[in-house]
Symmetry: D2
């Protein structure tokens, strides 16, 4: 041990570093810094700032990036319409994490559920509505934005009623059942002079945003193929699934529910619009309770020559993948559109080396930036990033996909 | 096309399935279900429940697992003491996501920061304190729990003052600078008849909880080796790092800051207590501003024969890995203790096959269950899962590690 | 240190364990086994077996699984026809790794290349042929099997000439340009009473074999969707790519070259035959040197209702993925069909947990078992696992895909 | 379909592109290239080069990178001494894959095993030896290099005898039991004027070579910590394990067998030499058949201040990991030293993004380049990359580790 005095037993940290200056002459190993003795606990009695350097407990500014939001009173107030699992499990908790929005009203046909949630979130009775009293929300000054999270078929009427009440609207996707309905909703917003945003959370997801950025930056070269698949099972004993199985309420099946992520995803990742589609329904489970298509596969053709090979299914486990192949590499979001768990890989493979890069974004949340966008549009009087026209575009494409599946022919999109 | 009538162009979904019953006789391919025509939009005027089956918009119960929490008024009130980046970035936003806790008071030596946060979170002026007025929190009935998130050296005094004020206490780890301080804090809680919990978030993290469960279930057989490393850089131009560099405020260096995850992690993953340690400081950056140890490596010896090889460092990038090797396989948490991003792998490798299993827990959050535990202990009058004794144990082991590093000898832990 | 005698300095391994029996009374830590002193080196002079226990250097049997192959003289002799990069880079080196096959002859139109390889592999002059002298291989008793690795269009004639010479044949895929050619080749083999095997290496690949086994075992439940994509760039300045760009030599484009992996892969993974296809060409690079289709996407419809969404491309980087989605999970081979690097994942995802299992097969080689199969069929006089009928089936499907792409209609497969 | 003439049914590929020049006026979608009709099969009779452009079947040069090796007669001849699983499973098959080496002789104490292998590899009787006749290999002109793959304790004597026979030597690691033996072996080689190389296959492994390159290129910044662990089970009913359990034959336990990969790996990854070590044995299985240490943990201290925390174990499943932590990122080889399956990750993690890059090297083989190095040193009369001095260095360090474990003290390395 003689040859390494740094670790000589018996010397404490302070002592041994005092025996030499800088690196000890005989040592091949750097010394530890000059460590003071461990401090005694500060006195119990009396204000702690007296006994200790006040700098530590006083002066530090709020950390960068962790600035608190607007004072509660100044935040944009949201009414939630439809209190299903998405609203209560994802939107309402995340409203609390925004800096500029707040929950101020609830609308539901189920009074008991609504009242329980109101108590939990501290919403007063005068901000609770059902579908009979909904129109009186016009007089509720705490509500700036109405967020529609009901089954698809009700979107149009509720959006029109919200605009009639003078509120801004955030509406879940798919925007509506038909192109005509979508257009009517856009027109209603324009007439009312209010904002209309569609709840495309993936476009606010840091993973998807990063994927767009990487493709634009040329990381995979010129895109040539998109492969996009979304699927999940639809067990009908789970209440939240039941309306999705009904054509008259959902307005469409797996395509409208989750296939829309393939449609929207291919569009924002490529940055161009498909001009034609082909499609085919395929097997069903044979369950007579299900009156929508359970599986559909389709292709979308883009002006650049890119083709997107897509499928959506209610007969597979959770599968949410979007893959873009280019002439310099690949980009894969898998899962692409989960609520919390996404993965982004960028790959380039040569004969010599394969380079697989995973990009992780530690604190990614897509709900908060989506809600912030709506709040910002209201506060700044500007168009949302995902306006009604974006929702209309997808419905138009999906209507073309249905027509293609029914006709067996390629269908152009105007 | 003749041979597959299912896709005959010109028939729509309804028509072609009507041309036969069930599966079409000539087809090798299943037909799609009987899809009704796409519904028209519901009428704009009038309550929507009139025009459509009320079942969809009315009767659904609150989704299982998404039950709302306690009414706001009944929740356990938390005062946050110390408004640094961890408090403002992680604890305060997550309080809003609990079902049984709420934020009711703020304590800071920086009045401006405190007031801004109070406005953002809607905390009234009569619930704001500084370190001079902190003791008057005794009269604040909105406060049930005081959560101490200050630099380490202040923990003891603030905990004692909180107990003196009759509050329950949640205190960040490391619990205190010395074993004696820890014991004093436990005693103060006992005298006051109040709960004392230490903020070991990892023990509430679904990933770490799952890892414990897998090891207990024998997935990796008999553990033989733990390798645990935690490191991050400590640039001193970032305000939140500054106190950590000072022995008189932090009370210890990388070991107290992040090495504690190795100590605590090895203990809860193995389910046993180390009986001896060896340790060695190593190089420092030479930065005279840093008066704590920047790097230390140590070994912990467990009664079962397991050895844990550990290191902590302020001179490496983010590295937070705990690995347990057994005689049937391996379990790796890497990162083990990030705020949001963790990964859990269980591996078994034979000459023939390697089986690498990754377990992902989609909506895992460790802050909420930690805060819920504190709230539950108050409401149910029971001991926390991570009480003062747990914090004391780690400090005792870390003090032994420092003694071992100073003496160069193996140090037993009583 | 007093309290842990195990590590008392000064005692050696032998000594300290002698101070107690079993675990030392005072120790909480198990002792190391009774280690004998390190041996001295054995004497330099004289046979080593004298000075040391002969057991170690003598009696051990050959390790299980590492049994040597047949004596060289008894192995099945292979002639390689066509000395391109696949033959010289993969087949010839792997012949040396079989236990029952050997390289005995070379056939090439390039005399210099052939002679250089012959010298490297120790093939005598009387076993070297060009395409004029090829038919005299009939008299070469060292040749049992002729392995055809030429551009596609030459397969039929060379196979027929090989059969005419009385040899067994292993022929690269695609088996031939047309269904009629394939049938003629099968007929020629039958007439000659010789074996015909098609070189579907993936069916001998341990990763693909394992994937089949997992699907049959129900790991992903009932399959519903296959997504299969193969692509690579085709730079024409690389000699080995040039013939692939020419319709008159390749007989087809990306579909025949690599799309065939999608066709064959979907069939063996599902264990059923597609009954109809749809397809569409898409963009080309515009390079007039390329007279084959560069990109094609197609769908294959299976009797069970499974749909396979496929693409092949010469305009993307290396992409070789086959994915099967079931109602209990997913299985992904990505890359599926690389020469040496494959990856197999089996995934099941629920709302609560995602379980991603990667299966690695350390010493997987697909060339050796393919070559062994051909040798075994010759030695055991049995049909190959991948006979001519297998090659014909794929060509028939690919011809249907081309017809579907040209007609825009669904094409049934008889 | 009217609106997309490209896919009009009834037109074939050739026709529709002839209807316009370049892009069709009405189409938004690029056309496919001008595809000629599918070729007919070439004529069966007659040399195939007559009927088809000779360019395809004649003139192509040998593919770049796939150049054949030296003619068999000119290759460097290897005698294998010791025919255990490593020799027969890895070295002998890979000799066949080199371009400059060949297997020419076998040495074993087990005549039956030797003769069976000789038949399989076509080695004549006059090139077969046992340990009595080994010295007569001096007269065997087919042998240039003797590769010693016996239990450790025999290395020295066999190497000395091989040098006495005038042969070059490749010797497995660990080079010998003691530093003195290593030095004697080096001296013997120098006296004989023959090359001595130690079989450090990992230093020839493309993954480890790439890792070294990345660290030297600064990808992880300044290294601060190495964590290196190697372990595997040692079931004694497997013949190849038996000698490893015996101190008098193995000369050391898990450290000599696999811990050496930690020692050598840390050295080549860091590019510097450790100057001191500490170590500790820990639990044993208690199996009296095992007379070597089964588990040992140690630390190596490097002049730069880097510390390497290491362990080796016979009580864990396959674990072969080397991790280097720097101030800009991490590099992990896991598995680091498998025969065929390795993985290399380079990671950098910030608060904002984690970037995990996996580098895959498709056709990596470490045996071939190691054998090629030995052959090249003989042919070019130069020192091997891993000479005797490299083997001596590791034995010296491992002897220091054993002394440190026995003394409980830090041991310097001269």
């Amino acid at each position: 041990m003689k040859d390494n005095p740094n670790s000589t037993p018996g010397l404490n940290r302070r002592q041994f570093v005092k025996t030499g200056s800088g690196l000890l002459a005989m040592s091949s190993f750097p010394v530890v810094p000059d460590l003071p003795a461990r401090p005694a606990a500060p006195p119990v009695a009396g204000p702690i700032v007296e006994g200790f350097p006040p700098a530590q407990l006083v002066g530090r500014p709020a950390p960068e990036g962790l600035k608190p939001g607007l004072p509660t009173a100044e935040r944009v107030g949201f009414a939630i319409v439809g209190l299903g699992s998405y609203a209560t499990g994802y939107i309402m908790p995340n409203l609390a994490n925004t800096k500029n929005a707040k929950l101020t009203a609830l609308v539901s046909g189920n009074q008991e559920k609504r009242d329980t949630l109101a108590a939990a979130y501290g919403i007063g009775n005068d901000h609770l509505y059902d579908y009979d009293t909904f129109d009186t929300i016009a007089d509720d000054e705490a509500v700036d934005v109405v967020y529609i999270i009901t089954p698809n078929v009700f979107h149009r009427a509720l959006v029109e009623r919200a605009f009639a009440a003078g509120k801004h609207v955030l509406c879940e996707k798919p925007m509506a059942i038909t192109e005509a309905d979508c257009q009517a909703m856009i027109d209603a917003g324009n007439r009312a002079g209010r904002k209309l945003m569609i709840g495309y959370r993936a476009q606010f997801d840091p993973y998807n945003v990063k994927a767009i950025e990487l493709i634009r930056d040329g990381r995979i070269g010129e895109p040539s193929t998109v492969v996009a698949d979304h699927g999940h099972l639809l067990p009908l004993d789970v209440p939240k699934n039941q309306w999705r199985a009904k054509q008259e309420v959902a307005g469409g099946g797996s395509l409208y529910d989750i296939g829309i992520y393939n449609v929207n995803g291919a569009r924002y990742l490529l940055g161009e619009e498909p001009t034609a589609v082909r499609a085919k329904y395929h097997r069903g489970s044979g369950n007579p309770e299900v009156t929508v298509e359970e599986e559909i596969e389709w292709q979308m053709y883009f002006p650049s020559g890119v083709i997107a090979n897509c499928s959506s299914s209610y007969l597979t486990t959770n599968n949410k993948r979007i893959h873009v192949q280019g002439d310099k590499g690949e980009l894969t979001l898998d899962p692409a559109t989960n609520y919390y768990l996404r993965a982004l890989h960028v790959t380039d493979r040569s004969q010599e080396h394969h380079r697989l890069e995973e990009i992780q974004i530690p604190e990614s949340n897509q709900f908060v930036p989506m809600l912030e966008e709506m709040a910002a549009c209201v506060r700044e009087d500007r168009e949302p990033k995902t306006p009604g026209a974006e929702g209309l575009r997808d419905v138009k494409i999906m209507e073309a996909i249905y027509r293609a599946a029914e006709s067996g022919e390629e269908v152009s999109i105007g």
